[in-house]
């Protein structure tokens, strides 16, 4: 009654002498058991060794295949993204043929081009279609079109005449003279103070001058009427 033991250690890939194996076993078994040594036939052990080897080979092959698959998938994804960033071929052609007119592209042509590009992109993308639509809509301000790299195409006439430097300079002066910390007041207050301190004392400007602050006065009238209405309704 020999127990059949399956050897699963990796070192079994070596072609062991069955005798040696049995010896080893015996040593192990002897320590725990007093039974007679087991008999494992050569064929069996050979078969098991071969099997384990095959398994190992298979697993390594599978792993390699898996890695390959992953790499391939990644590459595909990159290709897809790259294709997405480029404009479709026909627009690139157009731009190539008219490089000098980049600055003055007429508005409708730009729009139609954009529309065509937009449609083709729409076809190609399934997943994040809405997200991408939003992106293009936001990016399309006036006639600014993004090309590959850091270039953008826009009409010179659409730019306002005050460029950014001039605007910064004007903002600087406005902030220094009228910005926070400049302690300014209103014309109303200055004139009202003049009225109150002058030789003929009179009321503040908005009461003396009928035309002053007509919107505020109209609003105040309206609120007053509303309040009167409110008071009447619950009492009536």
């Amino acid at each position: 009654m020999a127990k059949k033991l399956l050897r699963t250690s990796p070192s079994s890939s070596n072609k062991f002498n069955s005798a040696n194996m049995t010896d080893d076993f015996q040593l192990h078994l002897d320590s725990s058991d007093d039974d007679a040594p087991e008999e494992v036939t050569f064929e069996e052990s050979k078969a098991s060794a071969l099997r384990s080897m095959k398994n190992a080979l298979e697993t390594s092959k599978r792993e390699k295949d898996l890695l390959k698959e992953k790499r391939r998938k990644r590459q595909e994804m990159f290709q897809e993204q790259k294709k997405r960033r480029l404009l479709p071929a026909h627009i690139l052609e157009e731009i190539d043929t008219a490089p000098s007119k980049k600055q003055k592209l007429p508005r409708d042509q730009a729009e139609s081009n954009h529309e065509e590009a937009y449609c083709s992109w729409e076809e190609g993308r399934e997943g994040s279609k809405e997200g991408y639509e939003k992106e293009t809509k936001k990016g399309f301000k006036g006639n600014i079109r993004r090309l590959k790299g850091n270039y953008s195409v826009m009409r010179v006439a659409d730019q306002s005449s005050t460029n950014s430097q001039q605007q910064t300079a004007m903002d600087f002066i406005q902030a220094r003279l009228y910005g926070p910390g400049s302690q300014r007041t209103t014309n109303n207050e200055v004139l009202s103070l003049q009225n109150k301190r002058g030789p003929n004392k009179s009321a503040a400007m908005q009461f003396v001058n009928k035309k002053w602050g007509t919107e505020k006065k109209a609003k105040a009238e309206k609120l007053k009427k509303q309040w009167i209405q409110k008071r009447k309704v619950p009492s009536s």
């Binding site: 005449s161 005050t162 430097q165 001039q166 910064t168 300079a169 004007m170 600087f172 220094r176 003279l177 009228y178 910390g181 400049s182 302690q183 300014r184 007041t185 209103t186 014309n187 109303n188 207050e189 200055v190 004139l191 103070l193 109150k196 301190r197 001058n209 002053w212």
Partner: protein
């Protein structure tokens, strides 16, 4: 005299622009004023501060500083360009891009050979002044902050530049920065903000005086780079500085609206003390920030955000009190902005950006003098015509029948045909104007609306014939004197025969329109004419000059009239001559050929030629007295000048065909309401 129904018009929302920069040319005694909307005005200080020329602004132009080089005027602005102006054709000659970003200041050296500009990118650029243009020479050492103000040393070897938190002194031949003067920041809350040195002045003894945003005026020693004295003059910014020609006095303008004078005198009278800069006078003539300042020989000229030009003569330079030593405030322009169609009862208001056409209201009532009549129909705005393009409107005209409207900018002239059928108005542009009609300094329609007169370059007048809906160029009327100055006044006679023009050289030419040639030249008087009018029946040309002299010239006889000679012999009353605003409009009463109607900003006057002229001892403003006298006593006290001061801040007075007067007033209070915010000043007991 009779009663007049008066249309009191206050719906003209005229809003002047704030003054940004000024420069005084001592040789020609002209002051150039730059406003925030880009327009430049030239005042003749020798001729009662008359506004001689106006160069209209442009949307893209901005003026931060002005400077004179000889007789040439240069300006620089935040659009990064230096512009030279052609003062004979009232337009910019050319604009040079400085490629330094926005330009904050421009100044010329005392020899007049170089211009220095201070740019946003921290460079001081030097330009060489050539015959017909300027040329970039070189940059001085580039600095880290923006250059806000510049001042040349009188020798031309050094420049002081006011920047943020410091003043740098450059050596011009090498371009290196030799000194750095550090300006303290303000105390308290403003310690976190950088101090901006708004203006700086370099004196010939190497003293530098600076005004900064912390409200200090500091005196520095330019040799050693040390601070000599600090004067804290205000809690707000010190925006402008100006030094007098002899360097004994410096005036300083602040955000509060005060102008403070510092003089280089010995502080006490004893023992030959050293002279130093002592604060002497304070003038409070402005309600808003003072941004432009100039100290001329006898006066201090200041202008700022409250749009008024104030000339404050220094009383120690005058021996006696006269009109020359009185405070002058120039608030309204010295030319017409309101045009009236007498037959149709329409008013045209000229704004820099648009034209407005209004129909006057109607009233049926009758009343005593001084009553307000109820309105049957309110005045209504018929047309709001916006200008095309960037240039501001230079001049405009409305024909007396109300059928034609024209306006001109620096680059184009536009002519429109108006049709009013009861309450509808239709306007159609006249296409294809003659090519020669490029821009006009003044426009005027003939009284039968068959011709348009356009004042063009070199004092010439283009005559354009108008028919149903088109126009044709007829002729150019040229003056014989060959003057190159622009025309600023033009008037024509009611019968369509005569046209009179006046230019900035004080020449008045009268042309015969039917024969299309020069008829005569009025003898030149030293002062510029401020208003002219041709009488409907006698064809006498009445001229009022900037120094308040009145002349009457008979065009037919080519000589002054008897009345005019009598007036000159007697002399005008002192109170008339002491008035400080010029007469801007002369008109006549068809029903009473003896009357001449004139107005200036503060009064309206009817001169009755049949009445005796007042002498120096007569009471000049006698209307109130006459009313209190009885019928028998009145005739002995009457004199020719009847002045009415009921209507104030007048922009225009005209007489319609139905004997009603139109007074267009613009109350100064209404202008003050729309100004930008003034500083908050804490006053006692408020």
């Amino acid at each position: 005299m009779g009663e007049f129904k008066v249309h009191r018009v206050r719906f003209f929302d005229y809003m002047p622009t704030a003054i940004r920069a000024m420069a005084f040319n001592a040789h020609t005694e002209r002051l150039a004023l730059g406003r925030m909307d880009g327009s430049v005005e030239i005042f003749n200080f020798a001729d009662r501060y008359f506004q001689e020329k106006v160069i209209p602004g442009k949307d893209s132009r901005s003026i931060e500083a002005l400077c004179w080089v000889g007789g040439r005027l240069f300006s620089a602005g935040l659009n990064g360009e230096i512009t030279e102006y052609d003062l004979e054709n009232l337009r910019p000659k050319y604009s040079l891009e400085a490629y330094g970003g926005p330009i904050w200041t421009i100044t010329s050296n005392s020899q007049g050979a170089h211009l220095a500009i201070g740019c946003e990118d921290g460079t001081v650029k030097l330009f060489e002044v050539l015959e017909e243009s300027i040329q970039f020479e070189r940059n001085l050492d580039r600095q880290k902050g923006r250059i806000i103000s510049l001042s040349w040393h009188p020798s031309g070897t050094q420049i002081a530049a006011g920047m943020m938190d410091m003043i740098r002194v450059f050596d011009v031949p090498t371009g290196r920065a030799v000194q750095r003067l550090l300006v303290d920041r303000g105390f308290g809350g403003s310690k976190s903000r950088e101090t901006v040195v708004w203006s700086v002045v370099f004196l010939s003894d190497y003293t530098i005086i600076s005004g900064d945003s912390a409200g200090k005026v500091q005196v520095w020693d330019g040799h050693t780079g040390t601070l000599v004295k600090t004067h804290l003059v205000t809690k707000w910014d010190v925006l402008a500085l100006s030094v007098s020609k002899d360097e004994s006095s410096v005036v300083v303008g602040t955000s509060e609206g005060t102008v403070i004078q510092f003089q280089f005198i010995a502080p006490t009278l004893q023992q030959q003390q050293d002279k130093e800069w002592v604060r002497t006078r304070t003038f409070k003539n402005h309600t808003h920030d003072v941004r432009a300042l100039a100290e001329i020989e006898t006066a201090i000229v200041s202008g700022g955000m409250d749009t008024q030009l104030v000339v404050r003569p220094l009383l120690e330079k005058f021996d006696e009190r006269s009109h020359a030593s009185a405070l002058r405030k120039i608030q309204f322009p010295h030319r017409n902005l309101v045009f009236c169609a007498k037959k149709a009862g329409l008013l045209l208001f000229q704004f820099p950006g648009q034209l407005e056409l209004w129909r006057l209201g109607e009233s049926d009532g009758h009343g005593k003098p001084g009553d307000s009549l109820p309105l049957k129909r309110k005045p209504e705005k018929l047309l709001h015509l916006k200008r095309k393009g960037e240039d501001h409107i230079c001049c405009s005209a409305l024909s007396s029948c109300g059928g034609w409207l024209a306006y001109s900018t620096m680059s184009s002239v536009r002519l429109y045909r108006l049709q009013t059928d009861n309450n509808d108005i239709s306007i159609s542009k006249v296409p294809k104007l003659p090519k020669i009609l490029r821009s006009a300094h003044q426009l005027c329609f003939s009284s039968d609306s068959s011709k348009l007169f356009a004042a063009s370059s070199q004092s010439s007048v283009l005559v354009i014939a108008l028919s149903q809906s088109e126009c044709k160029y007829v002729h150019t009327l040229k003056p014989k004197s060959g003057s190159r100055q622009p025309i600023h006044l033009m008037t024509n006679s009611v019968d369509g025969k005569w046209l009179a023009t006046a230019n900035s050289d004080c020449e008045i030419h009268v042309y015969n329109v039917q024969k299309l040639k020069l008829h005569c030249i009025v003898p030149v008087y030293g002062s510029c004419p401020s208003a002219m009018g041709i009488h409907p029946t006698t064809n006498n040309l009445t001229m009022v000059h900037a120094d308040q002299q009145i002349f009457e010239y008979s065009i037919v006889e080519k000589q002054y009239t008897d009345w005019s000679r009598k007036l000159q012999k007697q002399g005008l009353h002192n109170l008339w001559l002491d008035r400080d605003t010029p007469v801007t409009h002369v008109t006549f009463n068809p029903k009473n050929p003896e009357q001449i109607l004139l107005h200036d900003m503060h009064m309206f006057c009817i001169i009755d030629q049949s009445l005796p002229l007042p002498d120096q001892k007569t009471q000049f403003y006698n209307q109130m007295t006459l009313r209190s006298l009885s019928e028998q006593e009145r005739p002995s006290h009457l004199h020719a000048f009847k002045i009415c001061k009921t209507f104030q801040d007048l922009l225009s007075v005209s007489l319609l065909d139905d004997q009603s007067l139109v007074m267009v007033e613009r109350p100064l209070l209404a202008i003050t309401c729309q100004l930008p915010a003034p500083v908050r000043q804490k006053k006692f007991a408020t």
